[in-house]
Symmetry: C2
Subunit: 229 residues, 2 copies
């Protein structure tokens, strides 16, 4: 399995990239522990480098580092989950509008290619990959808007969205993706900012509505609790 196998001496960025991808594609689930030595061996570097990588990912919100206990893939709470999508709802519509004003033919082709890959991944049953591509799609739009500061924030939000979806997505099977992205690209192609803004707003609401954000028991981490009736 060519998963996280790098021969030797990777940079911090490469490690962050591969680990981030693994989390985005749900190959690493929320709660999973990343032992430093293990990561060291996989990438063939010293703990100095690995610790830098883990710390970066903590800043992104992807990992939570507990003192003296280690780095774990973050498990957003319900409140955090809501906040992530509230923040996206605040940021992304206006970003889509800006993108509509600036998108050129090249950008549109890129986005369409993105959607193709996304559908292909879904057809192959690779839901994790499709999810990551979907996130990248949103980031591409932010990039087109030429707002690096916002893009940087959105990167964090998309990362966290991936965690939220891992924890709170309703049906494990049907990962929708209707044709919201298609419609968005159409609006961008026409330079229709109003429509792009509205479509983005609706799209985010749609995703949000498919999350199960009701109060629930903390996932019982203790075997004892899990077995008592």
């Amino acid at each position: 399995m060519p998963l996280l196998t790098e021969p030797k001496t990777a940079t911090v960025e490469e490690i962050v990239g591969q680990l981030t991808e693994a989390v985005h594609e749900h190959r690493l689930q929320p709660g999973a522990k990343l032992r430093e030595d293990e990561v060291c061996e996989i990438f063939g570097v010293s703990r100095t480098i690995v610790r830098q990588a883990l710390r970066s990912m903590e800043f992104e919100g992807l990992l939570t580092i507990e003192k003296n206990r280690g780095a774990f893939v973050s498990k957003p709470t319900l409140k955090e989950a809501r906040e992530v999508f509230q923040a996206r709802a605040l940021i992304e519509p206006s970003t889509a509008r800006a993108a509509a004003d600036r998108a050129n033919a090249e950008d549109i082709v890129l986005l369409e290619h993105h959607i193709e890959q996304e559908h292909a991944a879904l057809d192959r049953g690779e839901a994790g990959l499709a999810l990551k591509l979907s996130g990248d799609f949103h980031l591409e739009i932010a990039r087109m808007a030429d707002q690096q500061t916002i893009e940087q924030f959105l990167r964090q939000l998309v990362s966290r969205s991936s965690l939220v979806i891992a924890l709170y997505w309703r049906r494990r099977n049907a990962l929708c993706e209707s044709n919201a992205h298609h419609a968005l690209v159409d609006a961008l192609r026409k330079g229709d900012g109003d429509n792009a803004e509205e479509l983005m707003k609706g799209h985010l609401l749609d995703i949000f509505s498919q999350l199960d954000l009701r109060e629930r028991q903390e996932a019982t981490t203790s075997l004892k609790d899990a077995l008592r009736r």
Copy 2:
């Protein structure tokens, strides 16, 4: 002068806190270099700790670390400067609205106290301190809105705003601060979300308009270039 003098063994957070404060108050100017050994001696810790602190501040956008060259207080470009205030204009008005809905008497007292300190600092001629307090004021409002994700982003934006102001503020002397904060607190006290939102929007535009964001020459760092006619 009790500036950055800590006796011994500080934590990463303490170092980040003190250095951040120094940047926010313009005691450390954009472009200033932070040598690792120097910071080590000041705080009485090893480079391991200092490097963690510097890296944190790089993520906040406060420092820029150039490979093999060191950590410098960031110098936002014109584009970045504009983006920072565009992002704030996008985020803060709705945050002010949310704060108006949630603010209790205690919060209002806190904010008023904040404004007092700000004016006192201005009267004493401590413009840097006043600026930092002004940033904290905005962060307090975000905290009241109970949106930690947004608050986290705003923290970065306020940090960068401090750098932008250091670089692009028009008149070095009169650091305005009219009574915009007073008006905002009034709206919050009354729970008037609409007004709070509008006031915040106007306040940010006001700050933005006092920046000198025209294209300009890169400050010539070379004496030779400065002398040739």
